[in-house]
């Protein structure tokens, strides 16, 4: 277990240095999701549920093949279905597996105040540690992808772990393994990037998708989950995939300038007041206050 400290490069709400930062050779893992070969079979959904022993949750029919409107605390992996008509009138049925993107610069981790509740391993996995989660939900606000979900009973937040238990034992994540068509692929970020670009090129050159491309948004430092899209210029078509996701500005301001300003103000205020006391002292000396009072006596 002690080895694991060396595998952590970022810790939420943590004062001081991070034990594993820059101490390990880095092997960044990455999921490649090729939406152009996804058939929306939901094998990944079930594999996720089954492997992580996630309990049953009620669902209702919602005029769609989609299991539920969005991921839940006990449903970390959801395929989003969207019907889209192209300009030539042909129909596309876009399916996108939605789960934690494992951002290189995770908004959840930035927003989290609890020491060690969210960590990022050197392999890029962003992992929630529920025993340290205090249930504030700031991660929900910090995430530009609407991923962390709150459990009202335990008052803690849950999301895809990228199967850290499997990956740490040398296995691929459960969703990746299950994927029947191979639209999910797992490996190093560099390799996945290469495969994704190759596929996008094939789609552009050979399959009549001139705008095909790879989704690896730089706004969050790139992600540990990248997509191949038929039309990379319109990621919104795929169930509202943000075109340029970033950590929300207010979270950045809050965790950045405001924090420094506030700290300076608070410390400065304390020092100022103390200095004032030294310089001017109380408004009234003790002896002054003890002088016999004049004036009305009832």
């Amino acid at each position: 277990m002690s080895q694991e400290t060396l595998r952590i490069q970022k810790i939420s709400g943590h004062a001081g240095s991070v034990p594993g930062e820059d101490t390990q050779r880095q092997y960044t893992v990455c999921k490649l999701i090729d939406t152009t070969t996804c058939i929306g079979c939901k094998a990944c959904e079930v594999a996720c549920m089954e492997w992580n022993d996630l309990p049953f949750g009620e669902t209702v029919f919602d005029n769609s093949y989609q299991t539920m409107p969005e991921t839940r605390w006990n449903y970390w992996n959801l395929i989003l279905f969207n019907e889209h008509e192209r300009e030539d009138g042909s129909l596309m049925w876009l399916m996108r597996k939605n789960q934690c993107m494992h951002c290189a610069e995770p908004g959840c981790l930035a927003a989290c105040p609890s020491d060690g509740a969210i960590v990022q391993y050197t392999n890029g996995i962003v992992d929630f540690q529920q025993d340290k989660c205090i249930g504030c939900g700031y991660c929900i606000t910090g995430c530009p992808f609407n991923i962390p979900k709150f459990n009202k009973e335990t008052k803690r937040v849950y999301k895809c772990t990228l199967c850290t238990d499997r990956v740490s034992q040398g296995l691929e994540p459960a969703c990746i393994k299950s994927c029947p068509t191979g639209c999910l692929h797992f490996g190093s970020k560099d390799d996945m990037k290469y495969l994704a670009e190759q596929r996008a090129k094939q789609l552009r050159d050979h399959y009549n998708f001139p705008k095909a491309g790879v989704y690896d948004p730089p706004g969050v430092g790139g992600t540990g989950v990248i997509y191949v899209l038929h039309d990379a210029s319109q990621p919104e078509l795929y169930g509202g995939l943000p075109k340029d996701p970033r950590i929300p500005l207010s979270v950045k301001l809050w965790k950045g300038p405001l924090k420094w300003l506030g700290n300076i103000a608070m410390v400065g205020g304390l020092i100022g007041l103390f200095a004032h006391y030294l310089r001017y002292g109380p408004k009234e000396r003790e002896e002054e206050a003890k002088e016999p009072h004049e004036g009305a006596q009832p």
Partner: protein, 193 residues
């Protein structure tokens, strides 16, 4: 007073808190990696019972097959060596663990008597013996040895067998063998529909 283990843990917790007061949280502030749930589970190679792709599966059961253990399936995943599915499974295959460990499973023989409105319990011996008697009675009453034209037909038209989609080859063979011996001709299978 002997300090129980529980007390010891409490003391530990208090100590931890006390230390934290001074800014030293003794609990390491790093991730507790979840353990692999199949780490010591037993692997059995099987085939998915659903569609005809015939995906290889690995069934993980707890217990090391020691005599004193009743195996429980904790996980099922694809067999990566299998040339067809190469470890993948569809949403049905991925939920096989629940197909096996399912509290809706039928666990005892039941009978519904003529005019009955509820199931009744029946022992295996009684069930098998009753079924065998009924088959014999029906066979003896309706067996056709010769047709109208006088050809030997030796067939039994009054009993039907319908076989399921997940019967093994061997089971199918046994059934066909036994049914042909009885003379059954209404012999059908999911394969037809």
């Amino acid at each position: 007073m002997a300090s129980s283990r529980r007390d010891f843990l409490k003391i530990g917790a208090v100590g931890g808190t006390a230390a934290a007061v001074f800014g030293f949280d003794l609990k390491p502030a790093f991730a507790q990696l979840r353990e692999l749930k199949i780490e010591r589970a037993n692997e059995t190679r099987s085939t998915c019972p659903y569609c005809a792709v015939g995906c290889g599966t690995i069934i993980y059961t707890i217990g090391d097959r020691a005599k004193n253990v009743t195996a429980q399936v904790v996980h099922v995943e694809g067999d990566p060596d299998h040339p067809t599915n190469r470890g993948t499974l569809c949403p049905k295959g991925s939920s096989l663990q629940q197909e096996i460990m399912n509290d809706r499973r039928l666990l005892k023989p039941l009978v519904r008597r003529p005019g009955g409105t509820e199931w009744e319990d029946i022992s295996w011996d009684d069930a098998i013996s009753e079924i065998a008697r009924r088959v014999k009675k029906t066979r003896d009453e309706t067996f056709v040895e010769k047709d109208a034209a006088g050809h030997t037909v030796n067939r039994l038209e009054s009993i039907a067998w319908i076989g399921g989609c997940t019967d093994t080859n061997e089971f199918n063979y046994l059934v066909v063998k036994a049914m042909h011996a009885l003379g059954v001709v209404h012999l059908e299978n999911q394969a037809r529909v």
